[in-house]
């Protein structure tokens, strides 16, 4: 006899009719809810996310099926929870569809049956395995939410109800199958390896009792499934739709590139002060949040107790959007979400001040840890910068510390209130002169690299030493390079991240014009913020340059044998740890070159901090925060410095002027007597050069004579 089974076992045709009618109604309810949400998203500003469809679809399938952003080395437990629930649920759903296709299409329409034989036996096996996997995933999730309770998890009624739904559905499925096997005496029952022992235990019960129990269980399983479908669009369960949509329509630009305000001269609004000022894709993205808390794991503000918590920001926006649309936001009452969540408080609030506080908006260091961690590509930083744009350009409401910075950027093209004519003063400390692009161009010559020194390297005495060190390395390696000198100005990164898009565009356009004027092709810089702006944002202003960070160039020069390092370096000996600058590592993927440079230093023992690479921890200086007070909780740089000091390192290697300042400041406040030094990679290498350490040290000493 061929293995098979009756599909609607112990269920009469009336019940089957009711099943289909109510299922259609539940699906209708689901789509009604989805439509209402989509209508909310459509109120956002236009943005083109329909380009490169093939790439988008491929990325969506790859990331969702293989869980590449969910199962990560440092999130294995949480990742496997989702993988088990996803795989179990999706397989069971497909199983249900297979049964429906057999019963309603294949047999009645085409007269073909496939639900028998080996296929059927494999089906039974797969369904039982999937049910077990689903239960295992949900139990793991409950353990995490009730027992281990990681500090990034804050469980609401919505989270709990969803898990309860899944558990009940799986248990009902096994119960139904056990009853059917017990009643029918299925010859192939053992293939249902979970339900089979249940069936054996049930076999002695009177058949009519089993039949009644089977019918009751069938109706309740069906009712639970309908409630589950109906609940989906009004709860966290929307995420299979919204998260996949967000993954499909995500920004394909590099994460380090903020979108420009197009035609800013003609624009009537700047940034976001109302919900509908966000783009439709941003409005959709807040509904994609599944409350996993990954965005908090390496967030500097969350980990130091500040107002901004990226997950809560997104949930606040999602809740406000639900309020505005009259949608049930799936939280089952405010008290279920006591504490920070502020939704369910009416649609009439102001976005800034009523939903998102200015403290949250200004707390962000724009380090990108939240976006890098988010499994569904929610972009928190652009939303925060959009709100900063409104505060700065429309409302003139920004932290008082920023006023002199904006003024200085406008007047001098740098945030340090220093004259542009003083930009090249640091070069006077070098024995060999450094050419300026104007001189190179006048002489009709070309250089290999333009050294974009950046404002800190040009004006801040500590960072001038880094510029000196890099220049001496390039000279030592025989690289021809020049600087812009007084023609250089801020790249616009600082103004852009602080929300002054107009000023940022002016500065960027000026720089691009200058670089294009000199026909610059290759740029080297020691500042990751300049690096990111030139690499990722200048194409928006017509600037396409090959830009390398100095760590990459030094690494190449060492590998090519163009730099000879002294085995008995006085600068770096002992343990060295390396701090990943966010705008170099996380935003631009430069992780290996700086480590290779440290590894190439003689007599150095390299140690990693616990948080490194993509999971590094911000120094607290990005997004203009180096110029603002660090308020609330503990200071971010002190948190990072403690981590560095705990490695026992003698030197903290840096690769960014802002990081350097923040780390040095942090060390002096955490342990004023500490002998731990913060040195840039260029300083470490220059100090170890066989040919020029003496000259370099002399040059550094001479710096004090040329300070502006």
């Amino acid at each position: 006899m061929t293995p098979s089974r009756e599909i609607f076992f112990n269920v009469d045709s009336f019940a089957v009719t009711v099943l289909y009618v109510l299922t259609i109604m539940a699906i209708g309810f689901l789509f009604y809810g989805l439509t209402r949400r989509v209508n909310r998203w459509r109120e956002g500003q236009p943005t083109n996310r329909f380009d490169q469809i093939g790439r988008r679809v491929w990325a969506l399938l790859y990331e969702s099926i293989f869980h590449v952003r969910i199962v990560r080395r440092r999130n294995l437990y949480g990742g496997f929870i989702h993988l088990f629930i996803f795989a179990g649920f999706v397989t069971l759903f497909i199983g249900t569809l297979i049964v429906m296709i057999e019963a309603d299409i294949a047999v009645p329409v085409f007269g073909v049956s496939f639900f028998h034989g080996d296929f059927y036996l494999g089906f039974k096996l797969a369904m039982n395995a999937s049910g077990l996997m689903l239960i295992a995933g949900v139990m793991m999730a409950l353990y995490r939410r009730f027992v281990s309770r990681p500090r990034t998890q804050q469980s609401s009624g919505d989270d709990m109800l969803l898990l309860a739904f899944l558990l009940v559905l799986a248990a009902q499925g096994f119960a139904l199958q056990g009853l059917r096997l017990a009643i029918s005496g299925d010859e192939w029952a053992a293939w249902s390896f979970v339900s089979y022992p249940l069936a054996i235990a049930l076999q002695d019960l009177p058949s009519r009792h089993l039949m009644l129990l089977h019918q009751l269980t069938w109706w309740t399983h069906f009712a639970t499934a309908l409630a589950f479908i109906g609940y989906a669009a009004y709860s966290k369960l929307i995420h299979p739709f919204s998260a996949m949509a967000n993954m499909l329509f995500r920004r394909l630009r590099p994460l380090g590139a903020l979108d420009a305000i197009e035609n800013i001269e003609q624009a009537e609004t700047f940034g976001v002060s109302r919900l509908e000022h966000f783009t439709w894709a941003q409005l959709m993205s807040v509904d994609a949040c599944m409350h996993c808390g990954r965005c908090l794991e390496y967030c500097p503000t969350f980990n130091t107790g500040k107002a901004l918590r990226p997950r809560d920001l997104v949930l606040e926006l999602a809740g406000f959007q639900a309020d505005r649309g009259g949608l049930f936001s799936g939280v089952l009452g405010e008290e279920a979400n006591s504490g920070r969540f502020r939704w369910g408080k009416g649609p009439e609030r102001e976005l800034i001040g009523g939903v998102v506080s200015p403290e949250e908006i200004w707390d962000c260091t724009t380090c990108g840890a939240c976006m890098e961690q988010c499994p569904v590509h929610i972009e928190h930083v652009p939303m925060l910068v959009d709100m900063r744009r409104s505060l700065v350009m429309e409302q003139n409401a920004f932290p008082t510390e920023l006023a002199p910075v904006f003024n200085s950027l406008e007047r001098f093209g740098n945030p340090y209130q220093s004259a542009s004519t003083d930009r090249a003063n640091w070069t006077k400390a070098l024995k060999q002169p450094v050419a300026q692009m104007s001189q190179v161009a006048a002489a009709g010559k070309t250089v290999d690299y333009l050294f974009y020194v950046g404002c800190a390297g040009s004006y801040v005495s500590r960072n001038q030493k880094v510029a000196l060190a890099l220049a001496s390395i390039l000279q030592d390696a025989g690289i021809s390079f020049a600087i812009l000198g007084g023609e250089e100005s801020c790249t616009g990164d600082l103004a852009r991240r602080m929300g002054h898009e107009y000023l940022a565009q002016q500065l960027a356009a000026k720089s691009v014009e200058k670089l294009n004027f000199y026909n610059v092709r290759k740029v080297v810089t020691a500042c990751p913020h300049c690096f990111n702006a030139i690499r990722n944002e200048y194409p928006q202003f017509g600037g396409n340059f090959e830009v390398v960070h100095h760590s990459q160039l030094i690494d190449e020069l060492i590998a090519a044998g163009r730099l000879t390092l002294n085995p008995v370096s006085a600068v770096a000996q002992g343990k060295v740890t390396y701090h990943d600058p966010c705008y170099l590592g996380r935003y631009n993927g430069v992780f290996d070159a700086p480590r290779d440079v440290v590894g190439a230093l003689p007599a150095v023992d390299f140690v990693e901090m616990p948080r490194n690479h993509k999971q590094s921890f911000c120094c607290g200086g990005g997004g203009g925060k180096a110029f603002m007070k660090d308020q609330g909780g503990i200071r971010i740089n002190e948190e990072r410095v403690r981590e560095a000091l705990n490695t026992g390192a003698d030197v903290v290697a840096a690769a960014c002027p802002f990081c350097m300042g923040m780390l040095e400041d942090g060390i002096s406040s955490v342990d004023s007597g500490s002998k731990v030094r913060v040195l840039d990679l260029a300083e470490l290498v220059a100090g170890s050069l066989k040919t020029s350490p003496v000259a370099l040290n002399a040059g550094m000493r001479a710096l004090s004579d040329v300070q502006p």
Binding site: I135, M139, L142, R145, R149, R151, T152, Q153, Q154, S155, S156, G157, D158, D159, M160, L161, L163, A164, F165, L167, V168, A170, A171, Q172, F174, A175, G178, L179, V194, Y196, P197, L198, A199, I200, A201, L202, Q203, D204, L205, L213, L216, T217, W219, T220, H221, A223, T224, A227, F302, N303, T304, L332, G333, E335, A336, N337, S338, G339, G633, I634
Partner: protein
């Protein structure tokens, strides 16, 4: 008042939804135990013990889902993180 009524209806619905599956698991547990205590059906003890264990596990899982679901409906599901950052 409206909230209380909707919660009461939701609670009653949850009881109705989980009662049959709990009934099945209880019946399996009792049926399996009874066969183990009164041998003679010819069924393998190993399968019966497994049946009892599966029934107990699925019953416990359902009960857990019931408690979690009721807490959610009653607005008592909020679980704070184990520790707050500084």
């Amino acid at each position: 008042m409206k909230t209380h009524i909707s919660r009461a209806i939701s609670c009653a619905a949850v009881v109705l939804l989980v009662a049959p599956v709990l009934g099945v698991m209880t019946a399996s547990l009792v049926g399996g135990a009874s066969q183990l205590l009164h041998p003679g059906t010819g069924r393998s003890s190993a399968f019966l013990i497994t049946g009892c264990l599966v029934a107990a596990s699925l019953g416990a899982v359902t009960l857990m889902a019931f408690v979690v679901g009721m807490r959610a409906i009653l607005g008592k599901a909020f679980v704070p993180p184990s520790e707050e950052p500084a």
